[in-house]
């Protein structure tokens, strides 16, 4: 066999392997979506009984599930805002300023990422118990901010490191103050990094089970509800909400691609236009 043919076989094998790997990632997702349409009998949703839309018509039929979801979204909103604000300023300090203890701070901020969630959750609960703090909504928010700060710092730092510092210096040289420079120059430039950090923080918060389970008290979040329900059978409404979220993400992604395409086309058109229409004007 020629080396060329061997290369093609190799690429083909890699492709097959990759397809299988991606399929593996999607198997449980197919099942989740499929069983949101299951006409299940009783409270179990384990075997296929035929197609129905009835669960999709009443996604919040289970009141506990509604409360849990509302809690999760609220906690995610509050903790994301706090963690993103705190983390962004930390990243700025770490990248933009030389100061004593920078290396140590860098390492310290990294430490929560290297600590297993069960340790983070247990340690925090132990402290709340020592101080006689009642666990509940507020302690969940505190915990989520704590584990999200480091993720925000790492994400925003990556963006800052790729940025040209001279632009800020130019603004200051032209008489802009520290805060004006920050709000008019720095913030707009790091905005994509801050936005993706906030998205990551929100996603981690909504999905967190381990740390939340330690510090939740009587408060139930979406993951806590599912874990509790897993023993007696997860209601199909969970499948509906999970699939619904996935569809929303897919639609947003499709819109994003469409907008980018349209923008790309407009820019392409704009670059062609001056050559034809714009030419006489220049002449």
């Amino acid at each position: 066999m020629s080396s060329h043919a061997r290369d093609r076989v190799r690429t083909w094998l890699l492709g097959v392997w990759s397809t299988l790997a991606l399929l593996y990632l999607f198997i449980p997702i197919f099942i989740v979506v499929l069983f949101s349409f299951n006409d299940n009998q009783g409270k179990f949703n384990f075997t296929w009984h035929g197609f129905t839309l009835r669960h999709w018509q009443h996604p919040f039929a289970n009141p506990d599930l509604g409360t849990a979801l509302k809690n999760s979204l609220l906690i995610a909103g509050i903790s994301t805002v706090i963690a993103t604000a705190l983390g962004t300023f930390m990243a700025l300090a770490l990248v933009r300023y030389g100061f004593r203890g920078r290396g140590a701070t860098d390492m310290f901020v990294f430490l929560p990422l290297a600590t297993p969630e069960v340790v983070l959750g247990a340690a925090l609960l132990a402290m709340f118990l020592t101080l006689n703090v009642n666990t509940g909504f507020a302690t969940i928010v505190i915990a989520h901010v704590m584990f999200n700060i480091s993720y925000v710092v790492v994400t925003v730092k990556a963006r800052l490191e790729g940025m040209d510092q001279h632009i800020e210096e130019a603004a200051m040289d032209l008489g802009a103050g520290v805060w004006t420079t920050f709000f008019k120059v720095t913030l707009p430039m790091i905005a994509p990094g801050v936005a993706s950090a906030a998205l990551l923080a929100a996603a981690l918060s909504v999905d967190d089970y381990v740390i939340t389970s330690f510090n939740a008290g009587q408060t139930i979040t979406f993951p806590l509800f599912i874990f509790g329900a897993a023993r007696q059978g997860v209601p199909p409404e969970v499948n509906v909400l999970a699939s619904g979220l996935l569809f929303v993400v897919l639609i947003l992604l499709a819109l994003n691609v469409a907008v980018q395409r349209a923008r790309g086309r407009r820019e392409a058109a704009a670059s062609v236009l001056p050559a034809t229409v714009g030419a006489p004007a220049n002449a």
Partner: protein, 291 residues
């Protein structure tokens, strides 16, 4: 005068920026960890309360009672990490070098499943692997699973669940480090009469090491402390150290034991990271994380 105050202000600024976030981490991360080492040396019981008295026996008790779960956690997490590396390396390689215009689409496919909740996905595996399910019945037909054999509630199910849940943590860092490799280096190697295999071993693999390192840690660390997969896909016979810590803390209320266990878990992980870093010759952990 004005220049001086401006300079002073600029010197203070980083501390002002760092302050609030750092304070949050100190109060809700560092102090709890220190407090935990304190709690781990307490003695007493759940009804009368616990008091500090240098009770080191919590540690020896924890080891003698739960070494089994400790070893199991390391085995399961290690197995899942290796499986993920085997699954993800060819996938990341394909996306980095062969996928062409499908590159972003395939990356998206890796991330997309994670827009459904971790628990929903794991519960879904519960359903797929269930005893009367399609998968187990087909495997029985083929003889891969014995007639009354099962998949759910076995080590295989728990390891597969862990490997599934952390696969993107392996795939994405691998992709990032492979994507950075200059294809001309591999070309140069083959031009200089290295076989494809030699070029891979001597060029691609060493350059991908930071990705392998970062990916393995990002998979192993959460995996070793995980207890959701063992709780939902296993039985008490598959319980890992995370399950023990959780039940000690939330059900049995034996705080010193739970604290000593989670302290040791952290120690084991730090040692594992150090050994692994030495083996792969990575200079620092943050360097790998940055990659």
């Amino acid at each position: 005068m004005l220049r001086l105050t401006l300079k002073r202000r600029r010197q203070l600024l980083p501390y002002l920026f760092l302050g609030p976030g750092l304070l949050w981490l100190i109060i809700f991360f560092l102090i709890p960890l220190l407090n935990q080492s304190y709690v781990s040396l307490e003695s007493g019981d759940a009804e009368l309360g616990y008091a500090f008295d240098w009770n080191f026996s919590t540690y020896s008790d924890a080891i003698s009672n739960y070494h089994e779960q400790f070893v199991r956690s390391l085995e399961y997490a290690g197995a899942a990490t290796v499986i993920d590396l085997i699954i993800a390396f060819p996938l990341a390689y394909f996306i980095a070098f062969k996928a062409g215009r499908f590159r972003n689409f395939m990356l998206l496919l890796i991330v997309l499943p994670f827009f459904t909740s971790y628990l929903v996905r794991t519960v879904s595996w519960q359903l797929i692997l269930s005893d009367n399910g399609w998968v187990v019945e087909r495997l029985r037909d083929v003889g891969l699973v014995s007639h009354d054999g099962r998949l759910l509630a076995t080590s295989t199910a728990v390891i597969a669940g862990i490997a599934y849940n952390f696969l993107p943590f392996m795939a994405l860092p691998l992709y990032v480090s492979l994507e950075k490799i200059d294809g001309r280096l591999i070309e140069a190697a083959t031009d200089l009469y290295a076989s494809r295999a030699t070029a891979f071993r001597k060029v691609t693999l060493p350059l991908a090491l930071p990705g392998i390192f970062a990916g393995s840690l990002l998979t192993f660390i959460p995996a070793v402390g995980d207890f959701i997969n063992a709780a939902l896909l296993g039985t008490p016979n598959q319980y890992m150290i995370g399950n023990v810590i959780q039940s000690k803390f939330l059900n049995i209320l034996d705080y010193p034991a739970a604290a000593s266990l989670s302290f040791m878990l952290m120690g084991v992980i730090l040692i594992a990271i150090a050994v692994y870093a030495r083996l792969l010759g990575t200079r620092s952990l943050t360097e790998a994380a940055a990659a």
